[in-house]
Symmetry: C2
Subunit: 235 residues, 2 copies
């Protein structure tokens, strides 16, 4: 487990937000934890993996975290992915993700953050939410982390940058999964996405495909991801 | 419109059930109408198309009709498809569906039944539910019937028997659609199903794919079809 520091807690309409920072193998990993002010002890927890060019407090990450907390009393945390948010170094996306060690480091970052949050919160159940780069991170993280019981993934496939690692890890994902796919995705090859869905070992998994480009996930489909996770985590 | 006769009404836990019979172009088309005992006048209406070897009162048809009525106050009706249920002649499925006139006759049957039910019930909104052979019927019916505002389809693709008609009619379907696909369907080619989904013109459409064989639609996915239709029909 890395060394963890917590920042001050702020509150917004019933949701507590607290920054944290983990030092791990020389890396400085900043994150944010959200939880309902009136949540039960040991509330369920969701790891939120942001997409490429986004960060731990991008609009939709914040929106998800608040929906989870307000509607279901579920806590969540996000960390900046490699080269993103406060960890930006100017290096481009492809260069970052082409480094040999990047997947192992990224998984270690998430697990260290999860260890630290679990030590504080003792969640009753744990899920993962991540689309696009959030699935590039999520497949290896969920494959490595038996504590994760349900995952919302999608907008990603076996591609040039990540094909080897995702092909290796997808069959190690065995928890229930909902997988979103945009039928007219201009960034992610449709067949590569279908192949990634097919490669997950999960006995319970659903592909939800909708028309439109990469970033055009229908608002209802996006909101329904919260209910999907909640159904498993609060059962 | 064909000539219609109604049978007596029976009741089961708040759901009224009434058989009917339409004579049309020399065909005798039997059907059943379900509605909630306490439904509002002009309740929404769903056409339920049964699957191959099934009939208008198969277990899952009855279950759907009762869920629609009890949970949402939505009326529904089913008719026996060509060569099915009371219309069975001993002719096999392939022979029935290979007849040149079969699609036009089937569409005429559904429209005659819809006309008759609309004349009695004046529904506020209309949807279609049909999987497998229910989609072989549903695509042409929804394509032909501007009164249908939303459709639940699936477990069907462009195949040997129906390819020409479904390829012609799929682009004429433009209402919101949810389309179910069983990833390991032993009867329906996966790519044929994806191609049928892709060919629908609907701006709002979602593919929901789950692992398993043709008849192994997950119970929750099945139940969710009711909520999907209700969200559109009772909005």
């Amino acid at each position: 487990m890395g060394t963890m520091q917590w920042a001050e807690t702020t509150e917004s309409r019933g949701v507590l937000e607290q920054g944290f920072r983990i030092e791990l193998e020389g890396r400085d990993v900043p994150g944010i934890l959200w939880r309902a002010e009136d949540a039960a002890e040991s509330a369920p927890l969701v790891l939120i993996g942001h997409g490429g060019t986004q960060h731990k407090r991008s609009g939709y990450v914040l929106s998800l975290a608040r929906m989870l907390a307000r509607h279901h009393g579920i806590a969540s945390f996000a960390i900046d992915g490699p080269g993103h948010g406060e960890r930006s170094t100017g290096e481009d996306f492809e260069t970052t993700w082409a480094r040999d060690s990047i997947y192992d480091e990224m998984v270690a970052d998430w697990r260290a953050a999860l260890d630290a949050v679990v030590a504080e919160q003792a969640p009753s159940s744990i899920g993962y939410w991540g689309l696009s780069m959030g699935t590039m991170m999520g497949v290896p993280v969920v494959a490595a982390e038996p504590r994760i019981q349900v995952a919302l993934l999608g907008l990603m496939g076996f591609g040039r940058l990540n094909g080897d690692r995702l092909r290796a890890d997808a069959p190690r994902v065995s928890c229930p999964v909902r997988f979103l796919l945009q039928w007219d995705d201009e960034l992610i090859d449709r067949q590569g996405g279908l192949d990634l869905f097919a490669a997950l070992s999960s006995e319970v998994k659903s592909l939800h495909a909708n028309p439109g480009r990469h970033s055009a996930v229908p608002p209802q489909e996006f909101r329904d991801t919260v209910g999907f996770l909640a159904a498993y985590l609060t059962a």
